[in-house]
Amino acid sequence: MSIKFKDVHKSFGSKKVLKGITMQVQKGEILFVIGTSGVGKSVTIKHIIGLLKPTSGSIEVDGEKVENLKEKQFIPIRKKVAMVFQGSSLFDSLSVLANVALPLEKHKIVPANKVHAKAMDLLTEVGMKKYASVFPAEIGDGMKKRVAIARALAMQPDYILFDEPTTGLDPVSARRVDKLILRLAKDRGTGTIVVSHDLPSIFGISDKIAMVYQGKIYFEGSREEYKRSEDPIIQQFIKGTSSGPMETPGF
């Protein structure tokens, strides 16, 4: 039971973003896909759920190849693999409760008469029950993130993808989101891929780290191995220094 990338390439026009990504995450494991901004981390995970199609290479979800699936064939994959988007991407026109209820209703996860109760349970799980009737514009970024997590959980997924879940949050909210991700992964046994460049998150909750650099996986291993690495590029990323061998897009 795993998600596997095998030599995945992706180009946008003449711009080659991914140049051979190979990595995997097991169920119950938290994999952090890290790297500098613009390196292709979000692009990588969007291939799993068909939001992007690879130029070449293959992606397997529990042994099923997904790179050539059509939009409708992705529906069962999207029930199995949920995603929490970078900006939370809550639907502005729907209340917090309706946001969580929508996938429950559309994916027919629970009977129609139990959608409301199930959505409330999920909001309770992320500590957002009392905000059920408000609209996304009325709550803060950290709260939006928690609602987005509840919406992702609505699908009862085997895997959850988090696209920079702590970016833009204050340190306290960020650590609370980390704690929530860790609890969900361990309690529910979901496979988790977190795209991030937030070092406290990376070193706080990851089981495994895959570092994307120049379109490829530059490093894959445990956080202890990552910390111990003497590779100058890895050290520069950890220390966050501007001078060093690491090339960053746009600089």
């Binding site: 969007k46 759920i49 939001l51 939009e71 992705f74 529906i75 999207r78 029930k79 949920a82 995603m83 988007f85 970078q86 900006g87 991407s89 809550l90 639907f91 502005d92 929508l102 996938p103 559309k106 994916h107 919406r151």
Partner: protein
């Protein structure tokens, strides 16, 4: 050097051609899926069509009223003014004006106004959802963005364009009659003569309203769904929606008029 320049020219032409074909294919698919989506009753949110009908119809009411009544008065004033210089016989102004409005002017003008107001709104809303990844979130939630976003607007737009078109026709005729009576002394009984309006005029006028009403949300929705990143992308999509919807209305109007002339009239 020459080889390099010619290669670049061919690459640019090829690139543009591919882009045009991709855009045409995408627009075709959006249109096809919108028509299919009309029959996906279960995927529609309750009350969404009414909400969109309110957005499209009620909020365009004043805009259409002011513009078309002003246009009706100006047109009749100018026609009467010119006729006064030649024969002075104003008896045919009303019947010809009514026929022309029903057959040609009201459908295209109403649709063009809706293309600017409604088309821009649809593209801006869907475009914003695209750049904030809400469209992707919809797909992740098992919702087809075309069924959810474009189809309710499509149904509401057809209905409301038709209703607004009828209202606009009545208003423009009344405004024209008012101007003819008060500025040139044309009797209302002489102006309100509907003998020249044939069933063909009514069928062509109605067909135009229905077709234009269906084209605006499809073209604008397509522009919204193909928005490029950032707020600049939303701005560009909105502009594209207004231009392309207006262009679609003009082309469709021409086609319906031509078919109408060849068959009905």
């Amino acid at each position: 050097m020459i080889k390099q320049i010619s290669t670049n020219i061919f690459a640019t032409i090829g690139d543009k051609t591919i882009n045009i074909f991709v855009a045409a294919k995408t627009l075709f698919l959006v249109t096809l899926n919108t028509f299919r989506g009309v029959f996906h009753f279960k995927s529609r949110e309750k009350g969404e069509i009414l909400k969109q009908a309110y957005e499209i119809g009620n909020r365009s009411f004043l805009f259409v009223s002011v513009t078309l009544s002003a246009l009706g008065m100006v047109l009749v004033f100018q026609v009467c003014l010119q006729i006064n210089k030649i024969t002075g016989d104003q008896s045919q102004v009303g019947p010809e004006f009514i026929k022309g409005m029903i057959h040609a002017f009201v459908p295209i003008l109403t649709a063009m106004m809706l293309a600017t107001r409604v088309g821009a709104g649809i593209a801006a809303e869907i475009g914003s959802m695209k750049v904030t990844e809400q469209i992707d979130a919809l797909r992740m939630s098992g919702v087809d963005p075309i069924d959810y976003l474009i189809v309710p607007r499509f149904i509401a737009s057809i209905f409301m364009t038709f209703i607004l078109g009828i209202y606009a026709a009545l208003l423009v005729i009344l405004a024209g009659a008012f101007m003819a009576h008060h500025s040139f002394g044309v009797n209302y009984n002489v102006f309100f003569v509907f003998d020249k309006v044939t069933w063909g005029d009514l069928i062509i006028g109605s067909t135009k309203l229905l077709v234009h009403g269906s084209a605006i949300p499809v073209v604008s929705g397509y522009c919204g769904l193909t928005t490029k990143v950032g707020s600049e992308g939303v701005g560009t999509a909105t502009t594209r929606a207004v231009i392309n919807s207006s262009l679609a209305v003009i082309i469709l109007d021409f086609i319906i008029s031509a078919i109408g002339l060849m068959t009905i009239q």
